[in-house]
Amino acid sequence: MARYLDAIIAGFGGQGVMLIGNLLAYAGMKDGLNVTYIPVYGPEMRGGTANCTVVLSEEEIGSPIIHSPVSLIIMNRPSLDKFQPRLKDGGLNIINSSLIDMDLADANRVKCIAVPCNEIADKLGNTRMANMVALGAYIQATGIMELQPVIDSLKDVLSERYHKLIPANTEALNAGAEVAAKA
């Protein structure tokens, strides 16, 4: 079957969900796919949760907005409540188990992978890279592409002044992938 994937990535405002959405889509483009990325914000800019939708496809992409996605990256509890019910049967749910009680995962209906993102990131020295841990796990679990195009895209997606963090981010991606590989 043609390569196709869509995902909703959701969490708190500061958790960097937009960044990994961007990174995923950009890497997909570099890997030869058609891609769309669309963010959804709360009240103009402030507060609440943030989420974005990414579509990766070999074919022309019609709708960039997906109500029932085939995969999720869920970084906090309110996002789980909101999006898990919408996940297609048998879909993939990457759950940040550092902040979410895995008892809430709908493991019968969908495939849930617990990734203790904050803890792993903390261990690697920077909680803020929890998002990269989640993305690493996601790439591994979906197999939509290798991890390398994602790692290669970091320099294009991160703004210049964060380039010094690329090695650390790479580590986080790898660490996440490892968790998923073992799941």
Partner: protein, 253 residues
């Protein structure tokens, strides 16, 4: 003697979390307004005219009747409210993008007509809600998303001092500038707000208070540093104090 609760939420401020960023001064300004509505006994007569900016949801936080004005037009909407209900306590709450940019004509003319309303002006030197664009109040050199290399006098002009302009209008009764960056200034801010509200209660005309406020998010500073910036950068350019007080003279002069 038994323990007393000496500081609590004023009745007029609804008990719910706000959508503001950590360290945002809108919360402080809201509380001061709420305290005064209670203390002056006008909450049940109050009609808030909310403006468009991060504080648009003030109407979800204050327990008073409210109407949402289009961006910049709150003083005109308030003029209409007051024309319709002269006996009510009518006030606007506006950001600097709202009041000093798009709403310049409306606030100046409402002030000059001597509308018997109060205006709470929250100056945080940026368009907060839309992501930190340059405002008329943005300081020289300050970087924003629409003056990425810093505001430049040559190209974008000087930061506008609204209180001074309002104070210069024949129709205005009270105009003052305060700051929310420390406890002393917050106390002073409340005094000024009380005077501005008093203007209206005594039917003596237009009361205006500018509150220098932090927008840590768009300043890209943590809240503590943001408060420091108010002291070191804002106050020197936007001096605090009363710029007009014709309250005791019976109104506008």
């Amino acid at each position: 003697m038994s323990e007393q609760l000496v500081f609590d939420r004023p009745q007029s401020v609804i008990d719910r979390p706000t959508h503001y960023c950590p360290g945002c001064h809108h919360g402080v300004a809201h509380r001061l307004v709420g305290e005064l509505l209670d203390e002056l006994g006008v909450a049940e007569d109050a009609i808030l005219v909310a403006s468009i900016g991060c504080s648009v949801f003030l109407y979800n936080y204050l327990n008073v009747d409210a109407v949402e004005a289009p961006h910049g037009r709150a003083p005109a909407v308030a003029t209409g409210v007051k024309a319709a209900r002269k006996d009510k306590f009518v006030f606007t709450y506006q950001g600097d993008g709202d009041l000093a940019s798009i709403g310049m004509a409306e606030v100046l003319h409402a002030a000059n007509r001597g509308e018997n309303i109060a205006v709470v002006f929250v100056n945080n030197t940026v368009y907060g809600m839309t992501g930190g664009q340059m405002a008329p109040t943005t300081l020289i050199g300050q970087r924003t998303t629409t003056c990425p290399s810093g505001r430049c006098l040559e190209h974008e002009g000087a930061p506008i001092r609204m209180t001074e302009i309002i104070a210069g209008l024949g129709g205005a009764t009270f105009a003052a500038r305060a700051s929310l960056n420390n406890v002393k200034n917050i106390r002073q801010a409340k005094k000024y707000l009380r005077k501005a509200f008093q203007c209206q209660i005594e039917k003596k005309g237009f009361g205006f208070v500018e509150l220098l406020s932090a927008c840590p998010t768009n300043w890209k500073l943590n809240p503590v540093d943001a408060n420091e910036r108010i002291k070191t950068e804002m106050i020197p350019y936007f001096p605090l104090g009363v710029f007009k007080d014709a309250l005791d003279e019976g109104g506008a002069c």
